[in-house]
Each structure stands twice: as structure tokens, then as C-alpha cells.
């Protein structure tokens, strides 16, 4: 074999390896989802969705968990949406190139890299103890809001950046003030992108268990929360709890709950992708 033939062979071999690597993760994921559906699907029925937790695996349900998850999603949106978008608007439209903006930018990148469990410790000390919110939905939502704030800020900035300069010029030239331009032109034009970012951030929040465990969210809550100051659990914590039990039947419960959690996660991601595609199609500058 000549040298160049050898090289070509190596090249081909790497190509095959490349295809293998590209799909190995997806194949493993596929196997896993299949395994989970096989194990969990049979457990999902109406009773499972509307039953309270129980010591007996066959009677236990996820009512408190999914209601808690929905509560957390709503509260987190209410808190993080205005805060994150405002901060993004400030950094992109008002504070360009100042020293403060530079520092804020570095700080936000840093926050994005802080492990979620550290946010849990922050929430435990500030919201649970200092603000005396206890291990409530509100404390949980505040903690998760801080966690996803960097994501919302970064995606808001990206979306705003995509609005062409000429639109702002056009608005200013008609006598609009900075805020009028932001409110009437920049935000509507970037809304699709901002919404996409928020939904992606929420899909991150919906799967978080660690920070909520640290602030004291419990696995066993015998009632559904009715106000933001009630104690709560969420799906990931319920899954964690069931996974940690030795009995096989609880693993089946965990698999069933995972299916529900994945449906929520994929739905959120699906909406985000749909919005992004629609946005890209709708506006051609």
C-alpha cells in the first residue's frame, strides 16, 4: 500500500468514526427514552395524575408535583421576565461601551457559569431565612428566577441586536425619544426572539431539582399548594425521591413521572423552536 492510499484509508476510517460519534449520543438517548417509556408508560393513567403521594407505590400519584411545577413556572415567569428583559434592554440600548456595562457583562457571564446548587444556597439564606419566606413556592420561584436571569438577559440582547440600526434611526428622525423607540419599535420587532429565550430558560428551570432541594422543597407534600407562600414539591424532586427508593415499584413510578416531565420539557422547547422559525420567516430586513 502506498502512503497516499494509507492516508486515504485513514481518512475514510475517521469519517466512519465521525458518523459513529455524531449519532452515539442520540442512539443512547433513544435507547434510554425507549427504556423509560417501556417501564413507565404502563403506569400512567388518570389516577396517577390526580393522586397525592403515598407510601404505597401503586397508590402514589404526581398531583402535588405537577401542580407545584406549574406554580413554579408561572411565578418564575412573572419574576424573571420583566427583570431579565429590562436588564437586557438597558445593556443593549442604554449602556453601551461604558465601564459599568463592561463590568455587568463579565458579571453576567460569570453568573451563567455558577452551578445551580449554589443558587440554592443563596436562596436558602436570603429568601428562606432572611426574608422569612420559608420553603415556599415564592422562595423557590425567586431562586430559580435568579438562576435563569443570565439566560434571559443574554437572549434578550441577542434579539435586540438583530433589530437593524435603520429602524431606530427612522424612529428617532420622527422625533421619538429613546424609550418610545424601544417600546414601539425595538421590543415589538425583537419580541419573537425574546420569547424564544424565555421559554428556553423556563425549560431549564422546569428540570431543576438541586436548588429547590437546598431551599427545603420536600418530596412529600400531602396537599396541592394554593398560594405562593405554601410549601411545595416539583416533578424533578418527586422523581429524585422515587429513584432513591429501593423498591422496584417506585422506579416504575419514577419512569412514569419522567415521561410527564419530558413531555413538558420537549413541549417548551418545541414552542421555542417554532417561534424562532416563524420569526425568521416573518421578518426579512
Amino acid at each position: 500500500m502506498t502512503n497516499s492510499e494509507k492516508n486515504r484509508l485513514k481518512d475514510k476510517a475517521f469519517q466512519v468514526f465521525g458518523i459513529f460519534c455524531t449519532f452515539i449520543g442520540l442512539v443512547v438517548l433513544g435507547i434510554f427514552l425507549f427504556d423509560i417509556i417501556l417501564e413507565g408508560a404502563k403506569r400512567i393513567d388518570w389516577d396517577f395524575l390526580v393522586s397525592l403521594p403515598s407510601r404505597r407505590a401503586s397508590r402514589a400519584g404526581i398531583l402535588t408535583a405537577w401542580v407545584g411545577t406549574i406554580w413554579i413556572l408561572l411565578l418564575t415567569t412573572i419574576i424573571a421576565f420583566p427583570l431579565g428583559v429590562s436588564a437586557g434592554v438597558y445593556l443593549e440600548e442604554y449602556a453601551k461601551k461604558t465601564k459599568l456595562a463592561n463590568f455587568l457583562e463579565i458579571n453576567i457571564s460569570n453568573l451563567a457559569g455558577v452551578p445551580s446548587i449554589i443558587y440554592g444556597l443563596l436562596g436558602l439564606e436570603i429568601f428562606v431565612r432572611q426574608m422569612r419566606l420559608g420553603s415556599s413556592l415564592l422562595a423557590g420561584a425567586l431562586t430559580l428566577s435568579l438562576l435563569i436571569l443570565p439566560i434571559i438577559i443574554v437572549t434578550t440582547r441577542e434579539a435586540i441586536k438583530a433589530v437593524p440600526r435603520s429602524i431606530r434611526d427612522g424612529s428617532f428622525a420622527l422625533g421619538a425619544s429613546k424609550w418610545q423607540t424601544v417600546w414601539h419599535q425595538v421590543l415589538p420587532a425583537s419580541f419573537g426572539g425574546i420569547l424564544t429565550g424565555i421559554i428556553l430558560a423556563l425549560s431549564r428551570a422546569v428540570g431543576e431539582a438541586a436548588p429547590l432541594i437546598v431551599i427545603g422543597a420536600l418530596a412529600y407534600v400531602p396537599f396541592t399548594p394554593s398560594s405562593p407562600l405554601d410549601e411545595f414539591t416539583v416533578l424533578p424532586i418527586q422523581i429524585f425521591n422515587w429513584t432513591s427508593r429501593p423498591q422496584e415499584a417506585f422506579l416504575t413510578n419514577a419512569a412514569a413521572a419522567i415521561i410527564i416531565l419530558l413531555i413538558i420539557t420537549f413541549m417548551l422547547n418545541g414552542i421555542a423552536v417554532y417561534l424562532r422559525n416563524r420569526q425568521q420567516k416573518k421578518i426579512k430586513w
Partner: protein, 254 residues
């Protein structure tokens, strides 16, 4: 030139981008209800100069102005001048059509809406008048609620002109308004400029010399940040005084 109060005036004007001296000692006075064309090679400062008259350069980092810009004899760079009020008097049309991603109607009435005008009759009346004045009404009157982005480039540019007219300015600044358009659309815009000068003072930046010759009453030639020559368009094109002007007009550089 006549002795009456000039509409627009610049006195000993210098402008800088950081260390770059973009406009050097410019003095010019433009009369009411005339069309003045700014010509010159790319980077000569003509667009920068145009944008001083409605303070569009305010947002550029490191940009600095010295000297005076006067509108009806009042310095528009005084501290107590409100930029939004100034821009209601001095409208602007940009090089590339930049309609907002909204309906045609909302584009035209945007300037009124941000002034807080909500009266539907007023808005509709203004929209129709402005669109008629911009020679667009007949083409869009049945589609006022369609997206402005669906219009052709030439229509978009006339929409941008209508949008500027809607807030009743006295001056309209045009920054190469036809450079992104096809010849037929360009002709329509030029016709429009000819109509508009009955009511408005117009300043147009162009690097198309024929266009300057066709639409303007006066022409100012800029070169490397200096105002080289300013005169009646006819005079300037037939007997330029400065050699640089002559070279530019005869196409020796540009």
C-alpha cells in the same frame, strides 16, 4: 444671495469622530423652499453634515461638534433645545428605505402616535394627506392595513417620505434617497422632490451628479471635509470656480 433670514445655516462648523476631523470650518446658508444638493466623493463628510441638521449624530460615540447650526436663526445645539421637538420640524429620509415592521397606516401615523395623538379622525386624515403628498395614496389606499414590508423598494421609500411629511416638518433631509432604487422608482422620487419644494425646504445628499442637476436649485460640493464650493446649481455645473469641483463634475475622480 438674498438678505432674508436663511432657513438653515452653519457657522464655523467643525466636527470630529474621535481624532478624525470630519468637517472643517463650514459656513453655509440655505434659503426656504429651495432644494439644496450636497455632492462629493464618498467619505467627504456630506452625510455627516446632513445629519447635523436633525442631530442624528448625537448617538455616535466620540462624535463632537463645534460652531453653530441654525434653524430659522436659532442654534439647535443649545442646551435647552429638545431634540424631539427639533426633529418634528426637520424630517429625514434615509438611504435605504426603512419602513417599520408594521402596517402601512401605522408607519405613516407613527410620528403622531408618539406625540400622544389618539384621535382616529385626525390620524386617518393625516395618513391620507401625507400619502397623497408622497404620491403613494392611489397605490396603497385599499391596503392600508397590510405590512409595509410587502411594498416594493420604491413604494417603501415614498412611504418613508409620507411618514416624514405626516408630522408637518418645514425641512426635509434626504440622505441619498434613491441610491437603493431602480431608475423608474428614482424618477418618481425626483418628481416628488420637485413637487415638495413648493412647501418644504429640502436638503438632499447624492453622489449622482445628474440627479443633483435635475432636482436642486443650489449645490454644495464637499471634498475631504471641506465645503469647496456652494452656488446655484446651474452656475456650478456650467462654470465651477474651483479646480477640484471641475475635476469632480467632469468625472476625473469620485
Amino acid at each position: 444671495m438674498s438678505k432674508k433670514q436663511p432657513k438653515l445655516e452653519a457657522r464655523d462648523l467643525n466636527a470630529y469622530y474621535g481624532d478624525f476631523h470630519a468637517l472643517k470650518n463650514i459656513n453655509i446658508a440655505m434659503e426656504e423652499k429651495n432644494v439644496t444638493a450636497f455632492i462629493g466623493p464618498s467619505g467627504c463628510g456630506k452625510s455627516t453634515f446632513l445629519r447635523l441638521f436633525n442631530r442624528m449624530n448625537d448617538y455616535i460615540d466620540g462624535f463632537k461638534v463645534e460652531g453653530n447650526i441654525l434653524l430659522d436663526g436659532n442654534d439647535i445645539y443649545q442646551k435647552d433645545v429638545r431634540v424631539d421637538e427639533l426633529r418634528k420640524q426637520v424630517g429625514m429620509v434615509f438611504q435605504k428605505p426603512n419602513p417599520f415592521p408594521k402596517t402601512i397606516f401605522e408607519n405613516v401615523v407613527y410620528g403622531l402616535r408618539i406625540q400622544g395623538i389618539k384621535n382616529k379622525a385626525v390620524l386617518e386624515e393625516t395618513a391620507e394627506r401625507s400619502l397623497r403628498d408622497a404620491a403613494l395614496w392611489d397605490e396603497v389606499k385599499d391596503n392600508l392595513n397590510k405590512s409595509a414590508l410587502a411594498l416594493s423598494g420604491g413604494q417603501q421609500q415614498r412611504l418613508c417620505i409620507a411618514r416624514a411629511l405626516a408630522i408637518s416638518p418645514s425641512v426635509i433631509l434626504m440622505d441619498e434617497p434613491a441610491s437603493a432604487l431602480d431608475p423608474i422608482s428614482t424618477a418618481k422620487i425626483e418628481e416628488l422632490i420637485y413637487e415638495l419644494k413648493n412647501d418644504y425646504t429640502i436638503v438632499i445628499v447624492t453622489h449622482n451628479m445628474q440627479q443633483a442637476g435635475r432636482v436642486s436649485d443650489y449645490t454644495a460640493f464637499f471634498y475631504m471635509g471641506e465645503l469647496v464650493e456652494f452656488n446655484k446649481t446651474k452656475t456650478m455645473f456650467t462654470s465651477p470656480k474651483d479646480e477640484r469641483t471641475q475635476n469632480y463634475i467632469t468625472g476625473r475622480f469620485g
